[in-house]
Amino acid sequence: MRTFFGLALLALLALGGVAARLRPRPADPRTVPLVWASDDNPARRDQIDLYNRRHPGQTLSLDPNNTGLEKVVVQSIAGVGPDCFDAGEGSLSVLIAAGIVEDITDDLARRGIVIERDTWPAVQSIVLRDGRAYGVPTNAAADAIFINKAMFREAGEPFPKTPWNWNELVSLAKRLTVRGPDGKAKRFGLLVDWNSWPGFVIQWGGEVFTPDGTRCVVDSPEAIAGVQFLHDLIYVHRVMPSPVEEAAIAASGGWGSGVITQFGGGRKAAMAFGGRWWLCTLRDRTQFPGLELTAVEAPTHAGRVFHGYGKGTFVNARSPRKEAALDLLAYMMGTEYGQLINDQADGLAPTRAVCYAPGYDRNPKFPEEDYNAVWRATLERSVPNKMSPYVNSQAANRILTRQMDLVKNDQKPVAQALRDAAREVNAEIAATLERNPALKAKWLAVRRAADAKAGAR
C-alpha cells in the first residue's frame, strides 16, 4: 500500500510538472491586459494576434467560457466581468437595463467612427438604441443558398438563375431529393437551420415585433404564412429533414456543428440556407475533403428582402481599462480587421467599405470561392429582425422556442402556435412593464405617439 501511495504521489508530482510547463504564459506585466469574452471560433485567434501586433502596449486574450448573456451580466455586475464581450440580436436592452454598457457614441466619434455611416444597416440595431451607440458590430451576415456542386452535377441540374422564388426552389429541391425503396431519404434537396425562421417571417412581409417594439406581432397572417412555408418544406414538400431525420444525419460536434456539418460532412443535402460564416467550418479540407461549393442568392417571396444578422462587441462599463477596450472596438471598425474577417469568412466585415475594396470578390487565397459578391448583394438588401426593448429577449425567445418546437415537430398547427406565442410574449411585455415603472412610462409615451400619428393619418 505504501508503495502504491508513493508511486501515486510521484505520478501526481510529475503531472504537476508537465502542467506547469504547459500553462499559458502570463501577459507581459508591462502591457495592459484586456479580456474579450467571445466564442471559440477558430478565426478569433488570428483576430487577437493581429490586434496584439498592432497594439504592443496591450495584451488581448480570449475568454471563450463566459460568453452567454447571463454570465456576462452576472459577472459584470459582480465586478469581475470581461473588458469587452460579444452579444447578439436583442441583447442591448438587457445590457442597458443592467447598467453594464454605456453610451460610447462620442468616444467612437473621437476615433472617427460613426456606426450609421460606416456599418451595414442590417446589424446596426444590435448596437444602437435611440440613435446612440453602445458597441460596434463584430461582423455581419445574411443567408444565401449554398450549393453542393458535385450533387448538382450528379443530378444533371444547372445552378439556379437568380433572382428566383421559393416555389422554384421547392421544385428544384424535389428533383434533388433522393429516397430509397423504403421511402427514407438518402439525400435531401435542402437544409435549413430551424432557428432561421425569423428570416422567413421577414421574407413573407411579417415581423416578430412592431417597429416600435411595443407589441409582438408574430401572429400576423404574413408571419404565419412564412413559418407555414418553412414547416411545409419538411412535412408537405418533404425536401427538408424532419427533426428525427435531422438527428439521423447529425455529424460529430465541434465549433459550428449542427446543420453546417450535416451539410458539409454528411453529404446528405444538395443545398443549404446559410451564411458566409459557415465557410469558417466548411473550408476545413480534412473534415470535408472534396467538398465543392458555390452559392446563389436566396429565393424571394413578398419582395427581394432578406434577414441580416450578426453580433456586436461591447465595452463593459465597469471595466477599469475602458480606453484600451475602446481601442479594440476601433480596431474592429478598421480596414485590417475587416479584411481579416473577409479572409477568414467569419461573416462579412462590419464596415461596408471593406467589402467593396479590391480583393473582396476574388480572394487569391481562396480562388475557388467565386461567389463572394452574393453575400454582399444579399446583405445590401437585408433588414434586421428587431427585438422589443420592453421584454427580456431571453424570456421572449424561450416562449417563441417552445412554440416553434411544437411546429417543428408537427405537433401544433402553425397559426395556433404563433397566436399562442404572440399572446404569451405580449403578456410577458405587460408583466415586464408592471415590474418596471420607468420602462412602462416609456412604453406609454411611445404608444401614445404611435396612436397620435395613426389618428393624424
Partner: protein
C-alpha cells in the same frame, strides 16, 4: 462554561473556523439573502428599483402556468426512484455474495458514479438517437423479429410520455401517451442510480445483517425468498428509509444538468424541472426575487415530503 471547556473551545476554534467561515459566507449567507429576496422584486436590472413586495412573488407563482408545468415535470422524474432503489437492492444482494471477481463487478457497477455526468449525458444522447442509436436499433430488431410492427420512440425529440401529460397544460391526453424525452431522462437516471451510492449503502447494510439470524431461519425451513423477506429486508429498513429520503430530496432538486446538456429543457419545456426554471428566472431573466420564491417553495415541498417520509417511514423502521 468551565475553564477547561473554554480552553477546549479556544483550541477547537482555529480548526473549525475555516469551515465555519466558508459555511457562513457561501451557504448560510446566500440562503438568508434568497429568503429576503423572495419577498422583494430583486432584479439584476438596475432600471428596476428594489422594493419590498410581501407575498407578491408567491401569489404570482401559484398562477404561473410554467411553474405548474415544470413542477409536474419535476414530480414525473421521481417515478424512476422506486425502480432505481429496487435495482440497487437487487444488485447489492447479488454483489454481496462470495463470487469470483466480485470486487471487479462492484467497481464496474459503480463506474457511472465517478464518471463525469456531462460525458454520460452526451453518451446517452447518442444512445437515444432515433435513427442510428443502439436503443432504437434494438427495438427495431425485436419488432422485426417478433413481427410486432412497433414504432420506436423519438426519445429526446418527443413530448410524449408514459402518463400522457399534455405539453402546455396540466392535463392528461391519450394523444401524448408514449415514450419521449421525459422517459428518456428517467431511464438514464435509473441506470445511473442503480449502481450508485445506493448500491454501496445497501452493500454495507447487507454486510451488517447478522448471518446467524439468516442461518436460524434457514434451519427452521425458511426458503431463500422467505429468509430475505422476513429476516434480511427488515434489517435493511433503516437504510431503505435513508435512501428513500435522500433520493426524494435529490430527485426534487435534480434535472438541471440533463436539461442544460441534453435537451435545453425541451422539447417545448417537457424536460424543464424547477431547478432549471430557477436558473432561467434568476440568470437569464435576472428576476432574483421571483427565482428565490420558486426556490423556497421547492424547499417547502422537499421539507414537507421529508417530514411525511420521516413520520411514516420511521414508524415502519421502528416496527
Amino acid at each position: 462554561m468551565s475553564r477547561r471547556g473554554r480552553r477546549g473551545l479556544a483550541d477547537a476554534l482555529p480548526f473549525l473556523l475555516p469551515n465555519l467561515l466558508g459555511f457562513l459566507l457561501f451557504t448560510a449567507g446566500p440562503v438568508l439573502f434568497s429568503l429576503g429576496a423572495a419577498f422583494t422584486n430583486a432584479n439584476l436590472m438596475r432600471s428596476v428599483p428594489l422594493q419590498f413586495t410581501g407575498l407578491e412573488n408567491f401569489r404570482m407563482l401559484f398562477s404561473d402556468r410554467e411553474f405548474h408545468l415544470y413542477f409536474l415535470n419535476t414530480l414525473y422524474f421521481l417515478i424512476g426512484m422506486p425502480v432505481a432503489i429496487a435495482g440497487s437492492l437487487a444488485l447489492a444482494v447479488l454483489l454481496s455474495r462470495e463470487i469470483r471477481g466480485v470486487v471487479v463487478y462492484r467497481t464496474l457497477f459503480y463506474l457511472p458514479s465517478f464518471t463525469s455526468g456531462v460525458a454520460l449525458m452526451i453518451l446517452w444522447k447518442q444512445l437515444y438517437n432515433p435513427d442510428f442509436g443502439p436503443i432504437n436499433a434494438a427495438i427495431h430488431w425485436v419488432s422485426a423479429t417478433l413481427r410486432l410492427g412497433m414504432d420506436a420512440p423519438d426519445w429526446l425529440l418527443s413530448t410524449r410520455n408514459l402518463l400522457g401529460i399534455e405539453v402546455e397544460k396540466v392535463a392528461l391526453s391519450a394523444r401524448q401517451y408514449g415514450l419521449g424525452a421525459r422517459d428518456a431522462i428517467v431511464i438514464m437516471g435509473v441506470w445511473t442510480a442503480v449502481g450508485g451510492n445506493n448500491l454501496l449503502l445497501y452493500l454495507a447494510a447487507l454486510m451488517n445483517v447478522p448471518t446467524e439470524l439468516q442461518e436460524a431461519a434457514a434451519l427452521d425451513g425458511a426458503k431463500p425468498g422467505q429468509v430475505f423477506r422476513h429476516v434480511t429486508w427488515p434489517q435493511l429498513a433503516p437504510t431503505t428509509f435513508f435512501i428513500v429520503v435522500m433520493s426524494t430530496i435529490g430527485g426534487l432538486q435534480g434535472g438541471f444538468e440533463q436539461a442544460r446538456v441534453m435537451t435545453a429543457g425541451g422539447p417545448s419545456g417537457t424536460t424543464t424541472t424547477l431547478s432549471y426554471y430557477i436558473y432561467t428566472k434568476a440568470f437569464e431573466e435576472f428576476r432574483i426575487g421571483y427565482a428565490s420564491a420558486v426556490a423556497w417553495v421547492l424547499f417547502a415541498v422537499i421539507f414537507a415530503l421529508t417530514l411525511v417520509n420521516w413520520k411514516f417511514g420511521n414508524r415502519e423502521v421502528a416496527e
